[in-house]
């Protein structure tokens, strides 16, 4: 019965109810937008930093990461690939054969990383073809190499020149070959830009006398939030000859950077909660002040304080719930819009992004967790704050309250 009364009360003074609900509504709206922006920006940053080379997950022969030598490569086997692709959340996998070599023009010799790739599969995962600044991309059966800009400069070569690669192959054989430069790529980090060279997997296997062998599978996943569980699933599917590593395990420095920045943003989110809490509290305070007379009257004519307190509390809960719900509903289209048409940055920052080959956008994340968790947090804040009016009611002195 009290519940019905609470409901009626809310409608009785619709203005007051609307204002309080609005406070909650905006609290939820802003929290959701902030949260999904933050998640979106960091997911995007992570995607950028991860997928241009290392990928989200890699599969190697056990022990390869510790000792990255050709002798730790493994045979390509259809059923292994099958096991990888059939693991849930795995989108695709591309094979690579990577090793060290000396690139030489006769006079100038520079150390470099040779990366043998399957051009078609690689396209889908790291979009290497988008980084081409001159020439063309590789084909699976074709010849020639793509050289990173920095390395090209250090060797003082240009497109269509020939370079020589020499190094140590599988089981100590000598690796040597001559290749024409058919393309040039650019990376934002000097670590890659000054040292890498790409060729078809087939050519690499031939160069290193490593027939049918690869050093890693680079794996793309559909839902990045399930990274760890996918990694575990892969480990279970493949036998112990293999090791499965997430990008965080391979590039812990970058993971730490992102983690820290992300955590620091949480401090900011807390400040936001503080602010909106205050907004909500303000409306509650006003409500108490305005209804003092009414509450004093009810107690004076015999309503138990506890009942009144419960009534007020119910009103608040209903308001909070309604406000939350509407807030979440309203935030959905906004978040979707900002996802499809993300905020674009300009100026110096945009230049920094473009140098790395990243799109200078700040998108939002569509993950339902943002909506739900923020809704819950604001609800909890609302409920907690609603306890204050309850407290005031319990301490009410009807005579004082009714005094004008």
């Amino acid at each position: 019965m009290l519940l019905q009364l609470a409901w009626k009360n809310l409608w009785r003074n619709s203005n007051r109810t609307a204002i309080t609900m609005a406070a909650i509504f905006f609290a939820v709206l802003l929290s959701v937008i902030t949260s999904s922006l933050k998640t979106g920006i960091f997911d995007n940053l992570e995607k950028n930093l991860v997928s241009f080379y290392a990928g989200y997950i890699q599969v190697h022969k056990n022990g390869y990461w510790e000792e990255q030598i050709l002798d730790n490569s493994f045979e390509v086997a259809i059923n292994n690939e099958g096991k990888i692709l059939s693991t849930p959340n795995v989108e695709s996998a591309t094979p690579r054969l990577e090793s060290f070599a000396l690139a030489s023009t006769g006079n100038i010799t520079k150390g470099c990383m040779v990366i043998g790739i399957d051009p078609e599969k690689e396209r889908k995962i790291t979009a290497l073809q988008n980084r081409i600044t001159q020439g063309r991309f590789l084909t699976a059966s074709g010849e020639g190499v793509i050289v990173a800009e920095g390395l090209l400069k250090r060797l003082k070569l240009k497109l269509n020149d020939t370079l020589v690669l020499i190094g140590q192959g599988y089981h100590g054989t000598t690796a040597a070959g001559k290749y024409i430069i058919i393309g040039v790529v650019r990376f934002g980090t000097p670590a890659l830009n000054d040292k890498t060279l790409f060729m078809s997997l087939f050519q690499a296997q031939d160069l290193y006398s490593a027939e049918n062998k690869i050093t890693s599978y680079v794996i793309a996943i559909k839902n990045t939030a399930n990274l760890n569980s996918t990694s575990v699933a892969l480990k279970n599917n493949l036998n112990s000859n293999f090791e499965v590593m997430t990008w965080g395990e391979m590039m812990p420095e970058i993971k730490q950077h992102i983690q820290t920045d992300s955590n620091n943003m949480q401090i900011v989110q807390i400040i936001l909660y503080l602010l909106v809490s205050f907004g909500i509290f303000g409306t509650l305070l006003m409500m108490i002040a305005e209804r003092r007379f009414e509450m004093g009257m009810l107690v004076a004519i015999g309503m138990k304080k506890k009942a009144l307190a419960f009534l007020i509390f119910m009103e608040s809960i209903l308001t909070v719930l309604a406000g939350c719900f509407l807030g979440i509903l309203a935030s959905i289209p906004i978040v979707y819009y900002l996802h499809a048409y993300p905020i674009r940055i300009a100026g110096k920052a945009a230049e920094a992004y473009e140098r790395f080959g990243f799109e200078p956008i700040f998108p939002t994340s569509l993950h339902p967790n943002n909506f739900i968790s923020q809704g819950i947090i604001v609800c909890i804040i609302g409920f907690c704050l609603s306890l204050y009016p309850v407290y005031r009611v319990l301490r009410l002195n009807p005579v004082e309250a009714m005094r004008r």
């Binding site: 007051r16 204002i19 802003l30 400069k153 620091n264 400040i271 909106v276 907004g279 305070l285």
Partner: protein, 400 residues
């Protein structure tokens, strides 16, 4: 009258004052924390990695070929010594080579340094974890990074051989003893860099008294642009780079945070605006009777509007210094004591390029703008409720 009105209803006024104060506080705190974060990130890069400015011969960085020394270095050094903005600079010879031990070998960058200057400019001494740094006893002392030591199982006092190509393009080897093992906040760098005394390296290279690199530490970060210009004007032939050019990844991260912080502040201002609007609306609702009374007594609409506006301005003016004060106080406190982020293990963090503690910095330069924004928001936020107030009919209001 506006003034008296404010004090009549203390609670309502307090709520609005606090809203404004909190909004200002929130904005300033966010800016402080971000400033502190950026500072911290940049600090490590500048203070213990690349320094503010580096100077090389324009051909040196293409290949690190040791023949590209800094010509006319005496003149340059004199000019740098005279420059008041420069705290300290260190001169180095650098080459790439091979470090060999019984357990294997690794490609390294060999930095020939002058220990005293180096400790000021890149804080080498502070990074030393085992051992006591260079001594005067032996020439062939070497400092290696912890990560490298672990990889090759090297210990203090161990012997290693460095093999390089000298300026006559011949292969030269030298034996060195490990006198210290260092660890910086950037493990990947630790794996690649080793430090020896400059004259030891120069002897092997054949570049005695010649320099490949000068790293400069300024008295403050803000002097960067001016100092670079000064040096460039006088010495056009060198390649002069700032930390921004030397560490583009840092710039990327820093810019990302910068922009994100502005977006967040925008959101905070929104939150502030709604908070104030709401509170004001509530207040107007509560004062319906009072307003009705005033209008019945002859207060016209314009005056009423002005009244509400004035009240808001007063409240905002009181709230502003409060917000400033709180933000300043809290920032100072954390600046002294550091804001710790506990959820991460310190070891994990510091091995990858930064410290776990943030020292927020009060953004003095942004006070003006922040205050303006907050006050503007507060004032604009009262417009809607004020208009609603104007629509009240005195008769209805009085009846209530």
């Amino acid at each position: 009258m506006a003034w008296r009105n404010i004090w009549r209803n203390k609670l309502r006024s307090l709520v609005i004052i606090l809203s404004v104060a909190l909004g200002l506080f929130a904005g300033l705190m966010v800016l402080s924390i971000y400033k502190g974060m950026l500072r911290g990130r940049v600090r490590t890069v500048i203070d213990s990695e690349v320094s503010h400015i580096q100077i090389h011969d324009s051909n040196f960085k293409k290949d690190y070929d040791p023949i590209y020394i800094i010509t006319q270095s005496d003149e340059l050094i004199k000019a740098l010594k005279k420059n008041q903005d420069i705290k300290s600079f260190s001169v180095r010879s650098i080459t790439q080579g091979m470090l060999s031990a019984t357990t294997g070998s690794a490609g390294v960058q060999i930095n020939g340094v002058l220990p005293l200057e180096e400790n000021i400019v890149s804080q080498l001494a502070k990074k030393i974890k085992i051992g006591n740094g260079f001594t005067d006893h032996k020439k062939n002392e070497i400092l290696i990074g912890k990560k490298l030591a672990k990889k090759l199982k090297l210990k203090l006092g161990g012997k290693i051989v460095l093999t390089i190509t000298d300026t006559s393009a011949e292969i030269v080897s030298g034996v060195f003893r490990i006198v210290s093992i260092f660890e910086s906040e950037n493990a990947p760098l630790d794996e690649i860099n080793v430090y020896v005394k400059k004259d030891a390296l120069d002897e092997m290279l054949g570049t005695t008294n010649q320099i490949h690199e000068i790293a400069i530490r300024l008295n403050s970060d803000e002097l960067l642009g001016a100092t670079v210009q000064q040096i460039q004007k006088q010495f056009k032939q060198y390649q002069i780079e700032t930390w921004e050019a030397l560490s583009p990844e840092t710039v990327l991260m820093v810019d990302t945070i910068d922009i994100t912080s502005y977006i967040i502040i925008g959101i905070i201002l929104f939150a502030l605006a709604f908070g104030i609007i709401n509170t004001m609306l509530m207040a107007i609702l509560e004062r319906t009777k009072e307003i009705g009374m005033m209008m019945a007594l002859g207060l016209n609409k314009i005056k009423l509007f002005q009244l509400i506006l004035l009240e808001t301005i007063f409240l905002t003016t009181i709230g502003t210094p409060l917000g400033l004060g709180m933000a300043w106080g809290l920032t100072n406190y954390y600046h002294q004591n550091g804001l710790h982020w506990e959820s991460m293990s310190k070891e994990l963090m510091s091995s990858f390029g930064f410290s776990t503690t943030i020292y927020p910095e009060f953004p003095f330069e942004k006070i003006g703008i922040s205050m303006c924004f907050v006050m503007l928001t507060a004032i604009l936020s009262c417009i809607y409720p004020a208009i609603k107030a104007l629509h009240l009919q005195p008769v209805d209001a009085l009846r209530k």
